[in-house]
């Protein structure tokens, strides 16, 4: 058992979210690692996946399993939280309910939500703009093979 760098888990999280039709209907501008790409017209409805921590649970010779933690948030430029909350519901369904598929080098074990996130952010440039942010911190355990 060797697993890998863990990039396969990053990619699988993004792919799972991007592949959910209901989620992409709510946040059609895409799912991105760390930051949304700068583009015109500006993106106003998207999901950000931020890698936070990783831990190898060591066994003899190789890790028994690995634990990845991600902050996953939908971000919607709106004054109301209705759409972003609906997107957060889909994020929860995709990551928590469904097994994570397409993990090269790993098998999905379980996903736990450690914390719910819901906040409103004031845009750093235009103080009249409000960003609705909702999602959660997710802990994903995978078994390397």
């Amino acid at each position: 058992m060797s697993g890998g760098s863990g990039a396969a888990v990053d990619a699988a999280v993004v792919a799972a979210l991007a592949g959910d039709v209901a989620l992409t209907a709510l946040v059609p501008d895409g799912v991105f690692l760390d930051v949304a790409p700068a583009a015109k017209p500006s993106k106003t409805r998207f999901v950000i996946v931020q890698y936070q921590t990783h831990e190898d649970e060591e066994g003899f010779q190789s890790p028994l399993y690995e634990v990845f933690r991600y902050r996953v948030t939908a971000r919607v430029l709106a004054s109301s939280g209705v759409d972003v909350n609906a997107a957060a519901d889909r994020i929860q369904h995709v990551l928590y309910v469904d097994p994570l598929a397409g993990l090269a080098g790993y098998t999905h074990m379980a996903t736990l939500r450690l914390e719910r996130i819901k906040t409103t952010e004031v845009d750093a440039i235009d103080n009249d703009i409000r960003w609705q942010v909702a999602g959660g911190d997710y802990e994903i355990s995978v078994s390397p093979h």
Binding site: F60, L64, Y65, L112
Partner: protein
Amino acid sequence: MARIHGKKGDVLLDPTGGATGVSLASCDGWELNLEKDRVDVTCFQDENKQSVLGLPSYSGSMSGAWDSATTPEQLFAVIFGDVPAMITLIPNTLEETFLFKGLGNLDGALSVSAKGAVTWSSKFDAAGPWTMEPAILP
């Protein structure tokens, strides 16, 4: 020789009790207990309590993560059987000639939590003579 880390430890099991041990998959720890019985031989007029030593117990435990591909066949089949397994405990596979081995009676336990991995543990005691290799002069 140097002080070593436990990451390269290993447990070999031969369920038939023979000499063909196979590395126990998904194992993350073992302990070996060489505790000896103390027999009280204190007598009249002794000025302190005295004891004599019995034999080392050669009992211990192992632990790891449940893997349905290997754990049932490698470990639980031995636990459910009544044939003592040959257990080889290796502190470091980079120095694999340093080991403890002998026949053992195995039992086991499984732990399942909604907040973590499914894990197993197993205890053993000696079912025959045990040795440490390479042998040292007492």
